[in-house]
């Protein structure tokens, strides 16, 4: 006789309404009497209903993994194992999806088939860091399940004090704003750190994220330690005929209110002949005018990325945005991409050597100062790294002449190279 379906009056209330219901999904799994996971999902529903009643969680961590790896499985043991024995173990496998989260129906079905065999049938597409989260598996099944995913070309993602799973925006695959090959950069970098991902031994977690432009669809600037964001170094490209078409269609007031007045830095003005006056000096490459007039304006031709370090959420020092450590790195040739990887390596090395335990790199910067980090990593100072120079005079400035000479030497050689 099959196990009884638990009464879930509170959860049931989440079955109504227009948005797809996860509760209905859980129930479908629990009711799939022919599947190995039905009892597990019944108990899972029972425990979740209990949480809704008591407003308390009942999971605790532990240690579960696959051979050769030290991370990628999130172990969950129930505190209510006595009452809900079939979901006593309910671990998650974090599996990295193809960059950009592209799937064929075929591969998705294969993944489902494996998951039905070993796990709960419940999968999150995707976790906030970008993993496919196969949620709900017993300890004993973890290894064989992983082996089948692995054989299909999929690998575990990050967890713990290591390099984490990354996200790149859809970018070049389907977006005209894309300033570099996001998927290539992401795979190149992350796949070079698989050792640091699978056998975590960093001071704390380390996340990369890749957005093709300043619209930052991958939330790189705040949600990654190392953000790679597309930009360009020359001027944006304007098609004045298309501009006129926009003005003709939407009117001058639209143009003034929605484009001109919303430019970050007053880099735009409307000429009397309805063409756009653009001042390259003032433009901060904020994407707004491009977004607003996608047919008329494009990023420049000399494309690459800005790299920012130190984004993170609240713990210990409060939220941090990443801040610029490389204003522009051209990304075009293979060598360019190698440079990106090389820089990532140096930053991670710095992190390993200098961060305190449980310290994100943003916290290290806060503690030791940007300048020390730049020197250690071997990066050159640039005024693009600051919103503004210091406002406080409490600084010892002997050595000014030497530092000034360094700058002049760099500028001199940059000019000579031009």
């Amino acid at each position: 006789m099959s196990k009884e379906m638990p009464a879930t009056p509170m959860l049931d209330e989440l079955e109504s309404g227009p948005w797809p219901s996860f509760v209905s999904g859980l129930k479908r799994l629990a009711a799939a009497e022919d599947k190995p996971y039905a009892p597990m999902m019944k108990d899972l529903l029972g425990q979740l209903e209990r949480s809704y009643e008591t407003r308390k969680g009942y999971w605790k961590g532990g240690t579960v993994g696959v051979r050769g790896y030290g991370a990628g499985v999130i172990p969950r043991f129930s505190e209510l194992a006595g009452e809900f024995p079939d979901s006593a173990e309910f671990h998650t496998l974090r599996i990295m999806p193809p960059a950009g989260m592209h799937y064929t129906t075929d591969i998705l079905r294969q993944l489902c088939d494996i998951w039905e065999k070993y796990g709960s049938g419940l999968v999150a597409l995707h976790g906030q860091s970008g993993d496919i989260m196969f949620q709900g598996i017993r300890t004993a099944n973890v290894q064989p399940c992983f082996e089948e995913f692995n054989a299909l070309g999929f690998d575990l993602g990050g967890a713990g004090a290591g390099v984490r799973t990354s996200i790149s925006c859809v970018g070049a695959a389907r977006c005209e704003q894309s300033c570099f090959d996001e998927a290539r950069a992401m795979r190149m970098v992350v796949n070079a750190f698989l050792d640091e991902m699978h056998r975590p031994s960093l001071p704390y977690k380390f996340k990369f994220k890749f957005s093709g432009c300043a619209n930052d669809c991958a939330n790189a600037i705040q949600r990654s330690d190392f953000a790679v964001i597309g930009t360009w170094r020359d001027d944006l490209r304007i098609d004045q005929d298309e501009v006129k078409t926009y003005v003709a269609k939407n009117g001058r007031k639209w143009m003034i209110d929605q484009v001109i007045a919303m430019c970050s830095t007053r880099a735009l003005s409307l000429n009397d002949d309805d063409t756009l006056a653009f001042d390259g000096e003032s433009c901060v490459r904020c994407m707004h005018c491009i977004n607003a007039m996608t047919k008329a304006i494009k990023p420049g031709d000399e494309r690459g990325v800005t790299i920012l370090l130190g984004g993170k959420r609240t713990l210990k020092i409060g939220d941090q945005m990443g801040t610029v450590i490389v204003p522009f790195l051209r990304l075009e040739t293979d060598e360019d991409y190698e440079k990106l990887l090389d820089l990532a390596r140096r930053v991670v090395d710095f992190f390993v050597e200098n961060a305190l335990e449980h310290e994100r790199i943003g916290e290290s910067i806060e503690r030791i100062g940007l300048v020390n980090l730049l020197e250690a990593v071997g990066l050159e100072l640039d005024p693009n790294m600051v919103s503004h120079p210091r406002t406080n005079s409490y600084v010892r400035t002997d050595g000014w002449a030497e530092e000034a000479a360094k700058w002049r030497a760099r500028k001199g050689s940059a000019e000579a190279a031009d």
Partner: protein, 356 residues
């Protein structure tokens, strides 16, 4: 017995084998896009080829039946390819405009609302909660479902001034990111320590180091090594709980919800900003969190009514000012709104620019 399995450390899979051919063919050469209707994008490439993307909502926490249903739709209506967005929406791509309408109809018929493009409210970035996490103060899937039900019109239509990106987090660690609106747990009482368990479960120096305000100190309690919290200093953040579960921060009554607004990751027009607290003390009220939902809807409606085209939540408020924000949303302004964290002085109004 077989050899122990040696993992193939293949890392992030190459997306090309899984990518729609039209995207592959025109990779890196897209020229412009528009939105023929809410939920549908048209991208045109330098080659002249166009692709229509139809976007729909999912529950993120998917059962395999639902995944297979999506696969069936993909096979029948969309060449057998799909992708997911960073917000758990699904996107099907077609190269023939004629396939758009049937695809939309099919998705809606199967319960996947089409929308989330352009100036709509997209799916909430959601986290784990009671379903899976070991430290949650609330559920995430339930909060998301309740909110998305309430906002379904705004998902299906593009009537907002700009994109609205909502996040939620089920503890103060905040795996959900910054949001135009964020619904997060906010504990209101210091952790209650189960002194019997500390010695066996917690590495005391590590826990002490984890507290952002140095409120924890090692102490002997009933002759056993334990920890002590200075309740005057404690900011109830719960950071001590993950490394030391006997420091129970979750409380059915005193773990509340708080709502934050104006977070923004994009560097578009204005620089990225953190979201700001606007309401707290909201009951953590499953299964449908009506109080939190109400406030979110009030904020959304005020934004919809008041903001100008392109203004993200933070930009709208920058323009109209916080006094008017609290007025139009009918939310109380309290001493808790005044920043007290490091550098708090910078959040005060150091100007003679004022709104009445």
């Amino acid at each position: 017995m077989a050899e122990p399995h040696i993992p193939i450390e293949s890392g992030v899979p190459d997306p090309f084998p899984y990518m729609h051919p039209v995207l592959k063919r025109n990779y890196g050469t897209w020229r412009w896009h528009d939105r023929p209707r809410p939920g549908v994008l048209r991208h045109v490439a330098a080659s002249g080829e166009a692709v229509w993307t139809v976007k729909a909502g999912t529950q993120r926490q998917l059962d395999v039946f639902t995944v297979r249903l999506l696969c069936a739709i993909g096979d029948e209506c969309a060449d057998g390819f799909m992708r997911f967005t960073t917000r758990s929406n699904i996107e099907f791509m077609v190269t023939d405009e004629a396939k758009v309408a049937p695809l939309v109809a099919r998705l809606e018929a199967d319960g996947f609302p089409v929308g989330g493009t352009g100036n709509s409210v997209s799916m909430i970035s959601h986290t784990q909660g009671w379903l899976h996490c070991d430290i949650p103060g609330t559920d995430a899937s339930g909060v998301v479902k309740a909110l998305m039900d309430a906002m379904i019109h705004e998902f299906r239509h593009e009537e907002m001034p700009n994109k609205v990106k909502i996040t939620t987090s089920c503890c103060q660690i905040n795996c959900g990111g910054q949001g135009d609106i964020a619904v997060n747990v906010q504990h209101t009482k210091p952790p209650v320590i189960n002194h019997d368990l500390v010695a066996q479960m917690c590495e005391r120096p590590a826990v002490v180091a984890r507290c952002p305000v140095a409120a924890i100190r090692p102490a002997m309690v009933n002759g056993k090594p334990s920890l002590e919290v200075d309740e005057k200093k404690c900011v109830c953040c719960g950071a001590c709980y993950p490394p030391c579960p006997p420091m129970q921060i979750n409380d059915p009554e005193h773990s509340k919800l708080a709502i934050w607004v104006g977070g923004k990751h994009s560097s578009t027009r204005t620089k990225p900003t953190f979201h700001k607290l606007v309401a707290a003390g909201i009951p953590n009220n499953p299964p449908r969190w009506p109080e939190a939902t109400d406030i979110v809807m009030k904020i959304l409606h005020a934004y919809k009514a008041g903001a100008r085209p392109w203004e993200r939540m933070s930009e709208w408020i920058d323009r109209i000012g916080w006094p008017r924000f609290f007025e139009v949303t009918d939310l109380p302004f309290t001493k808790f709104h005044i920043e007290t964290w490091r550098g708090s002085r910078a959040s005060l109004n150091a100007s003679a620019q004022l709104r009445f």
